[in-house]
Symmetry: C2
DNA sequence: CTGAAAGCGCTAACAC
DNA sequence: GTGTTAGCGCTTTCAG
């Protein structure tokens, strides 16, 4: 790899001049400039970003923490973040945390040592204490981590409420809820939204709420038990689509017809919901948009350390598909 | 952030000594060592990896190119690569290329400027010329790019053959194939495997092969047309699972029963195939394993520049699920 | 066993 | 307009 010195030598100028044309910084005679540019292309010279980073203390890298990229909610988020990141000439680092605080701390340290410029975090385990020593801008995405961090989330409670009300409106009389892992902030909000609607119904039982941990297999399992214990249930609101599909699988394995015997609504709006038969009704998040927005806000923070904390909430939207049906 | 100088000052030694204890390099008196370690922890000092990289010319970063992480085949691959990468203290960079050669070249240059240590590439567009100037180790994954690159792939042709034979064995008499994008090496191999089995059948028609571009919506569309033109088709081998699920969706929308009227087999073995009803029979790849192996081989190349090119092929395995059924 | 100093490649004062 | 030079933070000869 050619260095700036090689270019300077070939163009018969000093390295400072080369640096000037490289960064279009300060005055440089058009003729010299041309000579330098020729040398650059002759040598196929590319500036060394590591050296630049060392000088500037910034690396032009942004990292995203997700629990597990294999969970189908995250690829779209990751894609959005990468796109924005890339548009702004940052390099995109992906970290799978498994929601394991040990791994998260290890990543946090490693990234800081690499001078990453900012981090976007989806986590249920990180809290204020873990990040107070970190002097890199951090944005919370999908779930809130700490009151003093900028965040991009969706209207979880309102959306959950709307989903549950929808089930009621189409005629469901016993509505159960498969919730996510207890420690995630969005699990709590979605559960609240559900309870807002059903807690005063005389049929409501606390055993209508079971945890599926945002996980397909777990959701299948708990739904089978739920439906065996409570055959009267005719509507299920799953806190995410992966579990919604699990609920469908469980119902079908029990010989129930969806939506005739059981209506199902999910949350998230991932592509998976379109592939099943019947396809899954859901409260769709603008997943790509929230990922992209988080990246934009992060970049604002990077460019302006004094920027005030921002909290943005995107609304979710009902998408009626085939897993729900008006009953008479 | 504290620097090595601060540590040196506090421990009353030179930076060289600090460096020595940092890297357990050369002799250093146990007492001094302890003093240095105390200073390190007192200052909560972490070495600056950028400075290290500049000196060493290596960045401890590995990149993975995928066409699009939103395609459900790639998250598992990415996860595997990230896990191995992480175990070896590398940072994982993810690049979505959209199989766009322009983007790929841009990434290649940007990564080289950042001194990435190695790149794993899934691509249908990159070829020998594009990478001959790159002096960073590169491994091809899933698809072969160039004869002189190490690669990790699966037995595409054999697997396709087995899938098609399986359909024949269970009694399908008219077997069609939904293939991938023409330029991908694995599309070609899977198509060949299919043809190996059917080309001499007297019922075989070239219009039994249609391209679904490895894409769900496209597969739905072309399958509908195929099934309308050729209602006699009673078995379909889709070149990947995403298309397999699309085929199922198409068949169901046409009122066909799967597997009674139409048996479907996919390729890949992604989790999606388990969620549908009926679940999808498939030729499963050891996706995680090939991703992990590619990362391991890459690291071998990084550690030994003279390492000979390796080409590893993993075998695929039939997983019978509900979308295929023996017919009488 | 430890320190001084050169240098990785680049940028940004500061001179001229 | 252009060159000289001092670092950015670290590692590694080379002395001692």
């Amino acid at each position: 790899m050619a260095t700036i010195k090689d270019v300077a030598k070939l163009a018969q100028v000093s390295v400072a001049t080369v640096s000037r044309v490289l960064n279009s910084n300060g005055y440089v005679n058009p003729t010299t400039k041309e000579r330098v540019n020729k040398a650059i292309s002759d040598l196929n010279y590319r500036p060394n970003d590591v050296a630049r980073s060392l000088f500037k203390g910034r690396s032009k890298m942004i990292a995203l923490f997700v629990p597990d990229i294999m969970n189908p909610y995250f690829p779209e988020l990751a894609r959005a973040v990468e796109d924005v990141t890339n548009q702004h000439d940052y390099t995109f680092v992906l970290c799978n945390t498994d929601d394991d605080i040990e791994k998260e701390i290890t990543y946090l340290n490693a990234l800081q040592q690499k001078s990453v410029d900012g981090i976007i975090i989806v986590s249920s385990t990180i809290n204020k204490e873990h990040i107070q020593h970190i002097n890199v801008p951090i944005i919370a995405l999908d779930r809130i981590l700490s009151s003093d961090l900028s965040s991009v989330t969706v209207t979880n409670r309102e959306g959950a409420k709307e989903a549950t009300e929808y089930l009621k409106e189409i005629g469901c009389e016993r509505i159960a809820h498969i919730c996510g892992p207890e420690n995630a902030s969005n699990t709590v909000q979605r559960l609240r939204g559900y309870l807002d609607v059903v807690k005063d119904e005389d049929w409501f039982l606390s055993s209508y709420v079971v945890s599926g941990g945002y996980n397909f297999d777990k959701a299948v399992e708990v739904t089978i038990n739920l439906l065996k214990d409570h055959p009267e249930v005719d509507g299920i609101f799953a806190a995410n689509d992966v579990m919604g599909v699990g609920v469908m699988k469980a119902a079908q394995s029990l010989g129930l017809r969806v939506p005739e015997d059981l209506s199902i609504i999910g949350f998230d709006g991932i592509a998976l919901g379109k592939t099943t038969s019947p396809s899954l009704t859901t409260m769709a998040q603008p997943i790509y948009d929230i990922g992209a927005r988080a990246a934009e806000i992060l970049i604002e923070h990077i460019n302006d350390k004094e920027l005030l904390r921002k909290r943005e909430e995107f609304t979710v939207k009902l998408i009626e598909r085939e897993s729900t049906k008006v009953r008479r």
